[in-house]
Symmetry: C2
C-alpha cells in the first residue's frame, strides 16, 4: 500500500520504518529535505534525504517529498506533524487530494509556550481531531496512537503486560481497517478500544494533561495505561 | 479520628461507611438532612438522617450536620460535593475553621449543561483543586480518588488486577498521611502515584474527559487504569 506521512520527525520515522517492514511504499515529508532535527537528549535525527539513503541500504524503498507530495502519494495518510502546525499544513493541501482518504491523526495540540508541562491549544469543547475533520469534511479522519510515545506505537510488546490504545473517528469502515490491519496486524496491538466518533478525540487529547505528569513522576516516557475491569466472577454486575 | 465530609451523596456515604469501619467518628453534611436523593438507575439514596439511623443499628456512631458543622467537626475533611457547588460551599465556611486541616478533594468540575458526555467547567490552565487551594491558602488540599467511581474508591480489590490512584497536593506530610493511612491502610490501595503539587490536579481532572468516554464504550463505571512499564529486563532503558 502507498502511505504518505506528513512529517519527518521521530514519530514519522518510527512509523515509516515499521510500515516498510510490511512491504508498503512510504513517503515521509518535510519543508526541507536536507534538515536534520536536534531532539535534545534523544540526539540528532537524520534529514529526510539521509533517512531515505539509510532505508535503501537496507533494501527498503522509501520516498521523500513535500507535504503536498506525500498527500498526493498516499492511499492512506498519517498526520505526524505537531499540533500547532497540523491545521496550517493541512489547510494548504488541496482538499481534493485528501478526499476519501483515511487520515490517521497522531498529533496532540500541545502548547509549550507556558513552559513544562505543556497545556493544550484546544480542548474540552473541541479537539484537534475534530478541527481536522471539520477542515477536511471529505477525508476520513481517525484519531489513534496519540496517547503513547513513538517507540510504543509500533512496538507495544515492549511493555511488561498488554495495554490499551484508543480509536476515534466518524467512518466505521476506516476505523475497522485501522484497527485490524494497522494496529493489530502491523503494529502488534492486542487491546484496542473504539471510543466512538471523532468527538472522542477530546478524551484522548485531554488525557495528555495526565500523561505528561505521569511521565514526570515515573521518569520514563515508554509507559502506557491498561484498562482493568472487575474480575471474571463479578463482571456481570 | 474525627472526619468531616462535605456532602451526603453516593460518594459521601460510600466513604463515610468505610471510614466508620476503622473506628473513626464521621459526620456527613447537607443543606437538608431530611432530603433523599434520586440517583436514577442507581435508585434512591437515604436521607442523612435515615443513613445515621441505619449506621446506629449497626452499632456505628455517625453524625450529620450542616456543611459548616462538618467543617468544624473534622480534623480531616473530604470535599465530596459536586464540582460546581464546591467553591460556593467552601467559600461560605469561615477560613479559620478550615485552616491547617487536610481537605481531601474528590470532586470533579463536570459541566452537564451541554448534555452527555460532560465537559469541564475549568481545565487546562487551572483546575478545581487549585481553585480550592487558592480559596483556602491555609488548608492542606490533597486531590485524590477523583479518577474512579465511588465503589472502587474504598474497594480497589474489586477489580481483577491492581490499578492506580493519583495524589496531588502542595503539603508533603499531608500527602504522606493520605497515601499511607487513608489510601493504603483503610481503603486498600496498593498502587499510588504522587504527581506533585496541586497543579497536577489538572491532569487527573482532565482525564475525566477520557474516563466518561471509556465508561460509554465499556458500558461499566467500575473500571480503572493501571500503569504498565517496560518489562524487568528492559526497565533500565
Amino acid at each position: 500500500m502507498k502511505i504518505g506521512i506528513l512529517g519527518a520527525g521521530n514519530v514519522s520515522l518510527t512509523i515509516a520504518g515499521k510500515l516498510l517492514e510490511y512491504e508498503n511504499n512510504v513517503m515521509i515529508s518535510s519543508r526541507d529535505l536536507n534538515a536534520k532535527k536536534d531532539k535534545g537528549v534523544m540526539g540528532m535525527l537524520p534529514s529526510p534525504k539521509e533517512w531515505k539513503e539509510e532505508m535503501e541500504t537496507k533494501g527498503l524503498s522509501a520516498e521523500t517529498g513535500s507535504f503536498a507530495d506525500a498527500a498526493e502519494f498516499g492511499q492512506v495518510l498519517f498526520n505526524c506533524l505537531n499540533g500547532v502546525a497540523s491545521i496550517e499544513v493541512l489547510g494548504q493541501i488541496p482538499g481534493s487530494t485528501l478526499a476519501d482518504k483515511i487520515l490517521i491523526d497522531i498529533a496532540n495540540p500541545l502548547d509549550f509556550s507556558r513552559g513544562m508541562p505543556p497545556s493544550l491549544t484546544v480542548c474540552n469543547t473541541n479537539s484537534l481531531g475534530e478541527q481536522i475533520q471539520e477542515l477536511l469534511p471529505a477525508t476520513k479522519v481517525v484519531k489513534t496512537l496519540n496517547t503513547v510515545t513513538a517507540s510504543l506505537m509500533v512496538n507495544p510488546g515492549f511493555l511488561a503486560e498488554d495495554h490499551t490504545v484508543f480509536l476515534a473517528g466518524n467512518d466505521r469502515s476506516s476505523k475497522s481497517w485501522v484497527e485490524t490491519v494497522l494496529l493489530r496486524e502491523w503494529f502488534g496491538w492486542k487491546n484496542v478500544i473504539d471510543l466512538g466518533t471523532i468527538e472522542a478525540a477530546r478524551g484522548t487529547e485531554m488525557y495528555l494533561a495526565l500523561w505528561v505528569r505521569m511521565m514526570a513522576a515515573l521518569k520514563i516516557s515508554n509507559f502506557n495505561i491498561k484498562i482493568i475491569k472487575p474480575g471474571i466472577q463479578e463482571s456481570g454486575r
